[in-house]
């Protein structure tokens, strides 16, 4: 008798969990559905992707994969990284919507854009 009750309770709990995950898919699978890092790869004297579109409050991370240092400098003075050697990175969180153009302070022909919308 006890075993049957236990089994029934267990089944009930499991089905509740199923229902919950059906009704609230985000919540139930919160860990798994976290978005990946928003990245710009710096390599071969280019920013990749050159134009990146992100929602507000996104943190963009630039990673230098080139064999020469680069810097990330916003054109309107909003952000400026230290010199990034190979495999070093820099992150900035964009809170407000807008277009943020930037370039490499060492190699100013390298230009990129973050569009926040």
């Amino acid at each position: 008798m006890k075993r049957k009750v236990l089994l029934a309770v267990l089944t009930l709990l499991l089905s509740i969990a199923d229902v919950v995950s059906l009704v609230y898919p985000q919540r139930a699978g919160a860990q798994e559905s976290k978005p990946g890092a928003i990245e710009v790869k710096v390599d071969n004297f280019t920013f990749n992707p050159q134009t990146l579109t992100v929602p507000p409050n996104s943190t963009v991370t630039w990673t230098n994969k080139d064999d020469i240092p680069h810097t990330i400098v916003s054109q309107n003075g909003l952000f400026k990284s230290k010199a990034l050697d190979t495999d070093q990175g820099y992150s900035y969180t964009f809170t407000k919507a807008g277009t943020y153009e930037y370039f490499c302070g060492l190699h100013p022909k390298m230009v990129g854009k973050i569009v926040v919308q």
């Binding site: 071969n44 004297f45 280019t46 080139d66 064999d67 020469i68 240092p69 810097t71 400098v73 054109q75 230290k82 010199a83 050697d85 190979t86 153009e101 930037y102 370039f103 302070g105 060492l106 190699h107 100013p108 022909k109 230009v111």
Partner: protein, 327 residues
């Protein structure tokens, strides 16, 4: 020595069209400079191109030993760089020092046209200073973009340009030659090239205003002051204005670095020259995706790095510029 006869024949063939009647023409000069890379010495004396194999000047009676000026340009030592293009920039800089110390005519001083360090770190500057001490010569520096990271060039200025103005420009005179050190790696604008800026341009105009037009001028700056390859940032946005202040002078030599290969161009009275790096080579314009370090087989590395020997003979029109590799 065995090549001297051949070189004399070749030198005789260099003067093709003597337009200015000074015994030198652009194409001939450029050809001669190509020979220089293999260890030949091209000298312009009295407007006449002569050449001989390097090493055969020992005991020579060439007039450049007397009332003249001899100095060396080195560039782009990138102390701190340690990637495959050259994992040991200390050794190659030391090889450059050995080369300088072995020159048949000792230079009076040395010009370093920037990118002294790779990441503007104090220990990187210290290393270069330590290694260059072995030349026993005074060294005049201009910064490259790698020397002014993180502190807007404060470290560079404190070490090498205490008496400089603005971001570290200055001038000095040696044996009647006027030297101008310019800084074109500060306040770079997105999508732009090198930049001198209005304050520096105004200073330059004033600095040379009262000099006699017969005064030989040597300008040195890191990024080329002529348009080598704008797509890779190899040029300076406002260099034309700087050069306009030097129009009156009969002899102007512009020495630059940044591109890690030798290149030469003559425009009227102005000779432009870029030096090799002592650290790593870079590709020729457009010959690669980007202007980054160019990897070559280890045994070839020293043949694409080098120094530049510059000789001025009093009363003569152009300076003799000789590039030689570290091999």
């Amino acid at each position: 020595m065995r090549n001297t006869k051949l070189l004399e024949k070749v030198a005789a063939g260099f003067i093709e069209h003597d337009h200015n009647q000074d015994g030198v023409n652009r194409r001939g000069f450029l050809k001669c400079m190509a020979w220089a890379g293999t260890g030949a010495l091209c000298l312009i004396e009295g407007g006449v191109l002569t050449s001989s194999a390097l090493g055969s000047q020992m005991g020579s009676t060439k007039s450049h030993k007397t009332s003249g000026l001899s100095f060396v340009q080195i560039s782009d030592s990138h102390m701190g760089f340690n990637k495959p293009a050259n994992p040991d920039v200390i050794s190659t800089l030391k090889a450059a020092v050995d080369k300088i110390n072995a020159l048949p005519e000792a230079p009076e001083f040395i010009l370093h046209t920037g990118d002294i360090t790779h990441l503007s770190k104090p220990e990187e500057f210290d290393n270069v200073d330590q290694i260059l001490k072995a030349t026993n010569k005074q060294i005049f520096f201009v910064p490259g973009e790698h020397d002014v990271l993180n502190d807007d060039g404060a470290t560079f200025r404190e070490r090498y340009a205490r008496n400089g103005r603005g971001s570290g420009w200055y001038s000095f005179d040696q044996k009647g030659v006027h030297f101008v050190a310019l800084v074109n790696v500060m306040n770079l604008k997105a999508g732009g090239l090198g930049s001198l800026g209005n304050e520096q341009l105004e200073w330059l105009e004033d600095d040379v205003k009262h000099l006699k037009s017969s005064t030989p001028i040597v300008v040195f700056a890191h990024i080329p002051l002529w348009s080598v390859y704008p797509q890779w940032g190899w040029g300076t946005d406002d260099s034309a204005q700087a050069l306009s202040y030097l129009k009156k002078f009969g002899s102007v030599t512009v020495l630059n670095g940044h591109i890690h290969q030798t290149m030469q161009k003559i425009e009227g009275n102005v000779t432009f020259h870029t030096a090799c790096s002592t650290a790593f080579p870079q590709p020729a314009p457009g010959k690669a995706d980007g202007p980054g370090p160019m990897k070559v087989p280890a045994e070839q590395l020293r043949s694409v790095l080098g120094i530049t020997d510059v000789n001025y003979v009093k009363g003569h029109h152009s300076l003799g510029i000789v590039d030689s590799t570290l091999v």
